[in-house]
């Protein structure tokens, strides 16, 4: 187990290193500088600005600096926000993003599990078809389209929820729903497949043969076994939430990391783009690792035989 963990962590670091390097070199390839968009600068001014941010050094030296700083946890300073360190910007912004992401994840997983289980228990009835339809629609329609429609119908037309901004719990409702559509559908589909598979196993038949009631079979025997593999979709879900949050935060005007990232793209604020990329990649690899470890802890079969490869 320790060896397996160590190997995984080495891979994680390697992946992050590659992400950081690729991001860095791609940024260098981008034509234009962060200073040519807004103000008109004379060549001298431009030179001074570039000198200040170390942009006149040869690229390899910049790279070494960048990686060395990265190891120290320094992601550089933002061009657009008066030299604020990127780590600080991310720190300020991560709160709303985390609230939104966690709310959407919990809401999505809960509704998804219920939908999937009900669909599997009522296989090939209208309940099943309805749940499958919700899942397909939720998976198919991009969250930002859904967000736009929600804003228009529930926000503008019906006035049930505030249309935009981040001023209190009621402001989180619509973005959470919009973002939760993806986890709902992924969990529901996965849960249904798992549940159908478990319900078809011999140990469920044996439980029936023992005289167990419908509820005992579906909850005590089937649900528990079907829930375990659902942990594995948490990884893809987290990625979906990150992607979704970029646009959702923009649409709803939420002061989170995603909104800042999109702004940074608009003004070529490289350090913020690079920093956010690395943060996303780090979150992603950590979540995948945590999911694998979690899976091992919940499933008694894996617990004994060590990690799965």
């Amino acid at each position: 187990m320790a060896k397996y963990l160590l190997q995984r962590i080495v891979y994680m670091i390697l992946t992050l290193f590659i992400v950081a390097s690729v991001t860095f070199f791609l940024m260098k390839l981008i034509p234009g500088t962060p200073f040519n968009s807004a103000e008109k600068l004379t060549p001298q001014q431009l030179h001074i600005m570039q000198e200040k941010y170390g942009l006149n050094d040869p690229v390899p030296i910049q790279y070494v600096h960048y990686i060395a700083n990265l190891v120290k946890g320094d992601l550089g300073v933002s061009f657009q926000f008066d030299n604020t360190p990127v780590t600080k910007l991310l720190q300020i912004r991560i709160g709303p993003s985390a609230v939104l992401g966690i709310q959407a994840m919990i809401l999505g997983a809960l509704i998804g599990i219920v939908l999937g289980v009900v669909a599997a228990l009522k296989q090939n009835t209208w309940v099943d078809y309805g749940s499958t339809f919700i899942a397909v629609v939720g998976k198919s329609i991009p969250s930002f389209i859904f967000a736009g429609l929600l804003q228009y119908y529930l926000g503008v037309k019906l006035g049930w929820f505030p249309v935009m901004f981040w001023k209190g719990p009621e402001y989180t409702i619509m973005p959470t729903i919009a973002l939760a559509m993806f986890p709902i559908s992924i969990t529901a589909r996965f849960m249904r497949t798992e549940m159908v598979e478990v319900l078809g196993t011999e140990y469920i038949t044996l439980a029936k043969a023992k005289g167990a009631s419908y509820w005992q079979i579906s909850v005590k025997h089937a649900l528990r076994n079907a829930l375990i593999p659902v942990v594995t979709v948490l990884g893809p879900l987290a990625v979906g939430l990150m992607t979704g949050s970029l646009v959702i935060e923009n649409i709803f005007g939420i002061p989170g990391i995603g909104e800042q990232f999109v702004k940074a793209i608009m003004v070529n604020d490289y350090p913020v783009i690079m920093g956010t990329n690395i943060l996303f990649a780090a979150l992603f690899v950590v979540i995948i690792l945590v999911v694998d470890i979690l899976y091992g802890i919940i499933d008694p079969r894996i617990r004994i035989s060590g990690g799965k490869s």
């Binding site: 011999e202 140990y203 038949t205 029936k208 023992k210 005289g211 167990a212 076994n225 004994i304 035989s305």
Partner: protein
């Protein structure tokens, strides 16, 4: 002898992608108290479907009992509600499955799985049920049951798991035990142990057993009576001796000829030509006719009724009709028949 279970003219169909599969076509048999009845036949002959229907364990969405009765304790099991059925399953009738690797819940401790029917049917307290579970594990020959009771299935070997499944099945001292190929998935040495265990336990708790298998060697070892199934029907039924030493149906002949014994040499070992009938569209007449080397015109026209051979022995083949020509059974069968008169009917 007291009849404990009666199956009368059972018809079961499956609704599939391709159409209606008539898996069971008019099966009738009785199970007597304390006996072991073996049901033999190739895969797809309907043996498992028959027994699963007794427990009403067939998948509800695509299977249908088209007719017939399953009489147990004066009740027709095919007519009971789910709730009433739950009270019979695991208490009066219980079941052992083929593959011990998949028939235990992987995320539940062995002890809890054994305790479940005890708590459900005998209203035992958790503590009492646990004690009984340990006792049962000891009974089925699992060493250190006090420790094993808290372990998960994956910590047991295949043979040990099948012992656990047997312990679950026997937990409430059932009147009928259905064993669906309980040894097929096990190593030969383990097979013998499990069969011994089952015979031993049968004596202890005086239960009747329906033993499904395609392995005639196993049948010879455990069965009092044998029913041979082919194409969703029973084609021959009799005591074990009658079936082994004086079989009448050409399909049974085929089965016996394909079983090696002391005298067979390599060239002689026989296999039945052809494939089982397509039950989507069962053939007219005798389902076995296309594979029957002794086939007659009537086999292609009419289904044979049961002809009585003795009080305990019936076979559904036109060869037993008085007008039918005398045919010579295969060598292997003749050799056995020559031994038959010396053996008394019944054990």
């Amino acid at each position: 002898m007291e009849k404990i279970l009666q199956i009368k003219d059972l018809n079961i169909s499956f609704h599939t992608f391709a159409g209606e599969v008539k898996a069971i076509r008019g099966v009738s048999f009785d199970l007597f108290k304390g006996e072991t009845l073996a049901i033999v036949g190739e895969s797809g002959s309907g043996k498992s479907v028959t027994t699963k229907s007794i427990m009403r364990l067939l998948p509800e969405h695509n299977s249908e009992i088209k007719g017939g009765q399953v009489l147990f304790d004066g009740k027709d099991l095919t007519k009971l509600s789910d709730k009433q059925m739950q009270k019979i399953r695991g208490k009066d009738i219980s079941m052992i499955f083929q593959d011990p690797m998949t028939s235990l819940n992987p995320t539940m401790k062995i002890g809890n799985q054994i305790m479940e029917p005890l708590i459900k049917h005998q209203n035992m307290s958790k503590g009492a049920a646990r004690e009984r579970a340990v006792e049962l594990l000891r009974l089925v020959g699992i060493p250190k049951p006090e420790i094993r009771v808290d372990q998960y299935p994956h910590q047991f070997s295949g043979g040990m798991r099948q012992r656990v499944v047997i312990a679950i099945a026997l937990a409430c001292n059932p009147k009928v035990l259905i064993a669906d190929e309980p040894t097929t998935a096990l190593d030969v040495t383990i097979q013998a142990q499990i069969l011994e265990l089952m015979k031993d336990l049968q004596k202890k708790i005086d239960t009747s057993i329906i033993f499904i298998t395609h392995d005639l060697g196993v049948v010879a070892n455990v069965a009092d009576r044998v029913a041979v199934m082919y194409g969703g029907k029973i084609v021959e039924v009799g005591t074990a001796d009658e079936i082994f030493y004086n079989p009448k149906h050409p399909y049974t002949w085929g089965l016996i000829s394909s079983m090696p014994d002391m005298e067979t040499n390599d060239e002689e070992l026989y296999s039945i030509p052809g494939t089982p009938p397509d039950l989507l569209d069962p053939p007219k007449g005798d389902a076995f006719a296309p594979r029957n080397p002794y086939v007659m015109k009537i086999d292609l026209e009419q289904e044979p009724p049961f002809f009585k051979v003795s009080d305990t022995h019936y076979a559904a083949t036109w060869l037993l009709h008085p007008d039918a020509p005398k045919v010579e059974p295969p060598e292997a069968v003749k050799r056995r028949q020559s031994q038959f008169p010396g053996v008394k009917v019944g054990k």
